[in-house]
Amino acid sequence: MAAIALQQPRRAGSLLRRVALYLVVPAFLVLLYSTYRWLGIHFHWTHPFVVDDITMPSLRSIVSALFEPSRVNGPLLITVLLKAALFTAKEAVIGFALGASVGFVLGALLFQSKLLQRGFMPYIVASQTVPILAVAPMVVVWMKSGWQSVAVIAAYLTFFPVTINTLRGLQSADPRAIELMRSYAASPWTVLWKVRVPAALPFLFAAFKISATACVVGAIIGELPSSIQDGLGGAILNYAQYYSIEPADLWATNLIAALLGITFFLVVVVVERLVVRRAPEHVA
């Protein structure tokens, strides 16, 4: 489908359709939420939960909460949240860079030997089955609480998909391309950089897309045991305490957190467009 679409000359209408799509889906979700809320309140639904202003605050109240002072005489909530998002973004970006680098190097090392793969893979998998909530406090103890330890926690959630896909991507190179490089008497290092890594790029970017959102979650979770107040994790913890009074504040915070994750994802998509050159039918 995508390949067919790309081969056709882009018409003016297709841009309009895409913009419409970006508007229609959110509009549909808003409609769904509002309808459910209205029906729930109107008919006093109690299953699966009671619907009222606390469980499902109106969208209007969520949006307007963003533009109200976060506390008496304080700055607007949106200012507070955007600052927090920026702080968390810094931790997440550094965590992503760290995790992606470690993940790539680990994948490349495992690629060198089947023995290494068999020996280490179970532990790499095991590392991801341990809940991040159990690992995070230890990292904080080792590194002292601070944004650096949060970045490490974000990296912990980032590296795994990158390692798995690096391994798979490096193996994906065309065997005849390897033969061709051998005919040029290319060194293993040259084969890695000129053939295997470029061949692995689509796999790497698939991993980066998973990691882009995972590192944001990792950064938010990591802020909790570190007692960091400046990020979205701190904001979530704070507004969760006031949920029964001001539920819209927590919803608004989650909205900003979601937007941060989407932003990270989109950055990866844009970089992929710029970096990965493939036949249209091979683009995921």
């Binding site: 065309d174 391309a177 033969e179 990965v276 493939r278 036949a279």
Partner: protein, 261 residues
């Protein structure tokens, strides 16, 4: 041994794969510089394996192969040959120009020399104007021409071709046959060409090596004494048909000998 080093000299080469399949048995073959030699035979006769032994992409179980008088390992390290596969094996992430320049990059040529050479090669395979295209934007025949340009880019004395036109339609194949002959004459290199097609082998070659399967060995050498340069009319000469028949008979004889009665 002749006074001039043979382009390719294969001496007693056998190859048995893990699992016991004997792909080649007792192959002896001398190829003189400037020859165009086709290896023809049914599937499983080891013709591609023989090509890979010459290129040191596969190590023989017994015997050895010399290229330009050197052991094949040394010849590979000296980049004495270029290779073309059935599929073009171009890199999607490189433009046409950069695909052709790949072996030059590996050989450490300067950017300036590379650009000059790529321009020459594009002219040779008649793909001027396509240097900035990516492989997927080209037809199969054009991709294969890029692959030939890449193989010839560093001016190797030997060109190894493994069914290079096997995946193309008949029209494209015949046109590329003519082009290949033109390139061969211009470059003055030696060609070892693996094919399934009797007509293609006869039309292109100065000599056809007929192989038979299980185990792969040479059953007959057929000298192709058609005049040079070959043209479209060559395919209509009576002698062309005689030679095609001779190669066909050799193929059937080689196969029949091993078939149980």
């Amino acid at each position: 041994m002749s006074t001039e080093a043979a382009a390719v000299s294969i001496r007693g080469v056998s190859k048995t794969f893990e699992g016991g399949t004997t792909a080649l048995q007792g192959i002896d073959l001398e190829i003189v510089p400037g020859e165009f030699v086709s290896l023809i035979g049914p599937s499983g006769c080891g013709k591609s394996t023989l090509l890979r032994v010459i290129g040191d992409l596969i190590a023989p179980t017994a015997g050895d192969a010399l290229v330009n008088g050197k052991p094949s390992q040394q010849a590979r390290r000296d980049r004495d040959y270029g290779i073309v596969f059935q599929d073009a094996v171009l890199f999607d992430w490189r433009t046409v120009a950069k695909n052709i320049a790949l072996p030059l990059e590996l050989a450490g040529w300067s950017r300036e020399r590379r650009r000059e050479r790529v321009a020459q090669m594009l002219e040779l395979v008649e793909l001027k104007g396509f240097e900035d295209h990516h492989p997927w934007q080209l037809s199969g025949g054009m991709q294969q021409r890029v692959s030939i340009a890449r193989a010839l880019a560093f001016d190797p004395t030997l060109l190894l071709m493994d069914e290079p036109f096997g995946a193309l339609d008949e029209m494209t194949r015949e046109r590329l046959n003519m082009e290949l002959l033109r390139i061969w004459e211009a470059a003055g290199s030696t060609v070892v060409f693996v094919t399934h097609s009797i007509a293609e082998a006869v039309f292109l070659s100065t000599r056809v090596v007929v192989m038979s399967p299980r185990p792969g060995r040479i059953s007959e050498l057929v000298a192709i004494d058609l005049g040079q340069p070959r043209t479209a009319e060559t395919r209509e000469e009576p002698h062309f048909f005689e030679l095609v028949t001779q190669v066909r008979d050799a193929l059937h004889a080689g196969r029949g000998a091993k078939e149980p009665a």
